[in-house]
């Protein structure tokens, strides 16, 4: 494929010339991740330069169409770009729920005006979106949600409460599931609405997590307003969009490659802490076999992601199998962090604001991984989906 090789050369040259030296390093902590938005404070000038240059090329979201701020690249080209970025350790210039979730939903269900209005600011990292799905009474049973939007002619009035809204206190806008027909069966009265958070009717209250951080909030709507043109798709047909978006979210969460973020694998860490026997094997044979089994599963899991990608390239939908990825990938990630903690020993237990070491970070991340099998639909919910949609086992 000579075209692809030509693209690789161009990408390599451009990245070399445009990616600032100072940010070419593995993502090692929260501070290295850029989320963008009006409230964003860049940690360095180079972070901003990198984002602006990539956004100008459309490479913050390489596969979206050019007219909406994307790069218009094919799947193959995007893969090459990713490889070339990894080669020089260039981090993603911006991450966001806009890129991972709202964007794909708008591209499929949004009107032309909505795409033109909302997608380019996502690509440029100017607007940061929150996800307003869960409520105090609607977690796994998401369709039980009660936040309501009442029709007031040219706009809706929104009242209710969302919870576990990640980064809501830092976000500019929120995509929400709201009840627009309280009398309809629970899946049929839900709509997908975009709401500006910069208004008196929307307030947020941070919730502190077991890691000590407060990355998510309660979000309250008291007579908040949203213009009619912010309804995505048809009225009362929001559940279809919600489900579509969740498939993307699940594939994304399941596919998070912990080994890359972590820097060192549990096997490498353990070699330092427990030492080796005369054969070169880890001196702790129980730990060694646990790590080896998790490496077997981790490698087979990576190959499964590769196989699904190849399947979808060959035109076969992956569908409910994304629940399998979500379930297995997150459980695996938790397992790996448990092993990393065991491998690190006392060192991994150090935590506190002052400690920036790999060790302090390790404990926080270990704690964070426990959410992986809860957020985006719990492991049990994924197993329910596999039972019903793939194995076609009957309902209780």
């Amino acid at each position: 494929m000579p075209d692809l090789e030509k693209f690789r050369e161009e990408a390599r040259e451009w990245l070399e010339a445009n990616c600032p030296e100072s940010i070419r390093k593995p993502v090692s902590g929260e501070d290295d991740i850029v989320w963008g938005g009006r409230n964003w404070v860049f940690k360095s000038d180079d972070q901003k330069i990198w984002l602006d240059r990539m956004a100008e090329r459309g490479w913050t979201v390489p596969e979206w169409p050019k007219e909406y701020g994307g790069g218009g690249l094919s799947k193959e080209e995007a893969k090459v770009l990713k490889q070339e970025m990894a080669r020089i350790k260039a981090p993603p210039p911006v991450n966001s729920f806009g890129i991972w979730m709202l964007g794909p939903a708008l591209l499929k269900f949004g009107s032309e005006e909505q795409k033109r209005e909302h997608l380019p600011p996502i690509c440029r990292g100017e607007i940061r979106w929150a996800q307003g799905y869960s409520e105090p009474g609607a977690g796994s049973d998401l369709a039980a949600l009660q936040t309501r939007a009442d029709d007031k002619g040219d706009h809706y009035i929104v009242n209710g409460q969302k919870v576990w809204t990640s980064y809501a206190d830092e976000c500019d806008k929120i995509f929400c599931l709201v009840r627009t027909d309280p009398s309809a069966p629970k899946h049929e009265g839900i709509s997908f609405l975009l709401i500006d958070m910069d208004q008196p009717g929307v307030t947020t209250k941070p919730i502190r997590l077991i890691s000590g951080k407060s990355p998510f909030c309660e979000t309250f709507f008291d007579d908040a307003t949203a213009p009619k043109e912010n309804l995505v798709g048809e009225l009362n047909k929001g559940w279809t969009i919600a489900k579509y978006l969740l498939t993307h979210e699940r594939a994304m969460i399941g596919g998070m490659d912990s080994s890359q973020v972590l820097g060192r694998s549990p096997g490498e860490i353990a070699a330092d802490t427990v030492g080796r026997n005369s054969e070169g094997e880890l001196a702790d044979s129980f730990l060694r076999s646990d790590i080896a089994r998790s490496d077997v599963d981790g490698w087979a899991f990576m190959l499964t992601m590769e196989r699904y990608r190849d399947k979808s390239k060959a035109g076969e939908g992956v569908g409910a199998a994304s629940s399998g990825l979500k379930y297995y990938g997150t459980e695996l990630n938790k397992r790996r962090y448990e092993l990393s903690m065991s491998a690190s020993g006392f060192n991994a237990l150090k935590i506190g604001d002052g400690i920036d070491s790999e060790e302090g970070e390790m404990a926080r991340r270990w704690l964070r991984t426990k959410a992986n099998s809860i957020e985006g639909g719990t492991s049990e919910v994924q197993l329910n989906i596999i039972s019903k949609r793939i194995l076609e086992l009957p309902d209780a």
Partner: protein, 379 residues
Amino acid sequence: MALVLNEDQEMLRDAARGFLRRRSPVSELRRVRDEQVEGGFSRDIWREMAEQGFAGVLVSEEYGGSGFGHVAAGLIANEMGRTLAPSPFLSSAVLGAAALGRAGTDGQKGEYLPGIAGGELITAMAVDEGDKHKPEHVTLKAEKSGNGFKLTGAKTFVADGGAADLLIVSARTAGADEDQQGVTLFLVPADATGVTINTTPTVDNRNYADITLDGVEVDGDAVLGEVDNGFVLLESVLNAGRSVLAAEMEGLAKESFDMTVDYLKTRKQFGKIIGTFQGLQHRAAHLWTELELVESAVLKALQTLDENFDGAGAIAALAKAKAGSVARLATQEAIQMHGGIGMTDEHDIGFYMKRARAADELFGDADFHAGRIAMLRGY
């Protein structure tokens, strides 16, 4: 190479599936067991399998095979796993064909490969000497004698050893008992003077044998590959065998899983279909994800063998480790979810668990191969 099957491969799989369901369903294994069929499989059916092209799948066209390669061999093994078809496919069509095809002289290839491809000549790989797989542990001695060698020692758990016409034997020509250097492979006719073959009944009702060689004289032509440097060849050939065996385990695990999911949809207790119980649903769903991982690892291993035969060590270890542990899990869960009926000899499901156990053990179990991966990753 994309990790999906192409059209030719899908056709081959469908053809193999059709043939095996018709000619060698589980009832055939049951018959072989009940009638104590000599050699552990039906010669007639093996001949028909050869006509279907199974026996020659790794033999080049020049020597009467199809040369379809390892992905194809894996697809056949997968279907054989689904019906637990007893045959010398692994020993002869995979290990024998790979060993001779890779390292045979023109003379050796011409002498043996057409017979392998035609299903008339059956080979067996005599590697292990102890109760756990350890290919570098070779004490069977081969001493220079005239212009040939004299072989003395014993091998155990030789798959299809009781039916083989030709044994491929790892022997020590130099070095200490556990050295990789100093291992040589020999081609030894099963009827050579000094060869004693004792078949051992095993839980999977397949044919294994303990073999002793007591001063067996072979000439120089009997060496396969290089003298003293046979270990690398042995490992490459075993990796092909391990990967194809992993494919067989994938097939048997999936079949036992399918049978179980079907049962969950029909059996009633407490006035309900048992498949409505979430405790069972989740176990089934978890198994499904594990089987997806097995499929990926196995396909990658088979593709790697086709692309770079000698570079498949790590991925073959992955496939064998993952398939072995999941096949055991899937078949045990299958029995549990069948309840009492799963414990009866009359039901087929037990045969699956027995074969999973034996296939996992053969050429290194899941722990053995996980340990290899640990070693390759530097811990």
